[in-house]
Symmetry: C2
Subunit: 230 residues, 2 copies
């Protein structure tokens, strides 16, 4: 359902393989570090290795897998540095996407986003981080789905996919951060409703993500362990 404009035609086997493996990475079936053996995946999917190889290379281009010559592919890891890069990039492209979308966001969209945000608030009460995370994506989707520039939208999706692939690993919910996040969402909606300048919306959206990154970094620093040094 996150596919970008599927033209509904008969998909080639390489596309099937791409979609299948991508889905497994994003939903956590293949978690970071998982070894992707071409022959095995090919057998699972009932195709030969050639289209699988092509699919893997596409996923590599998106940063979801790491490919080493004559060695093989693994699901991209949880290196904190990579996390920082991804979040920083996402803050930029997502900020832009949100700002570009803003003029196209209608009252109905805002209402929908607000409803999602209130659900998120409830998740805070019952401590349901899994649901919270999913709702968070829904919320932001409303904000940037109207982005008129498909290139930027694609970059946003890529960033989210990378984050999704890390979700089930050490990069978790930073407790104190969630409540602030919900409040920032509400503030963002207000800006959009009142037709604030694009600059301002972009800045707010970008800071929203930067704050999440900072919260993570603060936590990581306090923990002060190099969990993944490889």
């Amino acid at each position: 359902m996150t596919e970008t404009a599927t033209a509904a035609g008969p998909r080639s086997k390489s596309e099937q393989a791409y979609a299948a493996v991508k889905a497994r990475i994003v939903d956590g079936t293949y978690s970071p570090g998982y070894r992707l053996v071409l022959a095995k995946i090919a057998e699972d999917l009932g195709v030969s290795v050639v289209p699988v190889r092509e699919a893997i290379r596409r996923l590599e281009a998106e940063g979801l897998v790491k490919f080493e010559r004559n060695v093989g592919a693994t699901v991209s890891g949880i290196d904190p540095t990579e996390y920082l890069y991804t979040m920083q990039t996402l803050s930029i492209v997502e900020g832009a996407a949100t700002a570009l979308s803003a003029p196209l966001i209608g009252a109905a969209d805002v209402a929908r986003a607000r409803a999602v945000n209130e659900e998120m608030r409830e998740c805070l009460e019952h401590f349901d981080p899994v649901r919270f995370t999913r709702l968070n994506q829904d919320f932001h989707s409303v904000l940037f789905e109207h982005c008129p520039n498909p290139h930027i939208l694609d970059l946003v999706h890529r960033g989210w996919n990378r984050l999704a692939s890390l979700r089930s690993s050490t990069f978790r919910f930073v407790p104190g951060r969630a409540r602030d996040s919900v409040d920032e969402h509400e503030a963002l909606l207000r800006l959009i409703e009142t037709g604030a300048a694009a600059d301002e919306i972009e800045r707010a959206a970008r800071l929203h993500r930067s704050a999440t990154l900072d919260a993570y970094l603060a936590q990581a620093t306090s923990t002060e362990q190099q969990t993944a040094q490889q």
Copy 2:
């Protein structure tokens, strides 16, 4: 001779093919609309079609070629809409890259960039748009090459590659724009030298590219012809 062996290990044939075809697209040997026949390229490069196919798909992911199932690949076209998307995206990621690089740019770098910019000014006198364009890339390379976030840097490079592939087509030099561009370069250097805030540098860099886009759009509107409708 086109290959610039970058001190890496033995490249796979798919990588050779990727680099070779990419180079031909970027340097204009294969101009937009050019039909990329797998078998033909394979023969030219002395490899089989499988690695060529993989290379083409990678180039597709970068937006340099367009691939249609059971039909074939062509070098991505010059659709004005795509141009707009690319420039807009580039203005965002390049602005960010420049801002992130700024604190890392030393006096020597600024001097180098300034020298390049003065050369560009000379090109205006002798009307040498080809050289101007190349120098322009050199100038901006100095600004963002220190970008500490490789993801963002990669996005910038992709954008430049796409523009390069269009260079030899109808998207040309907009005469009145070039002089302003050189002045904006100088202003950018001043901001960097004086250690201006990242926000300010980002804004300036972004506007610099937006202005180029606007100049093109103004020209395109006045021309008002759909030159390439195919």
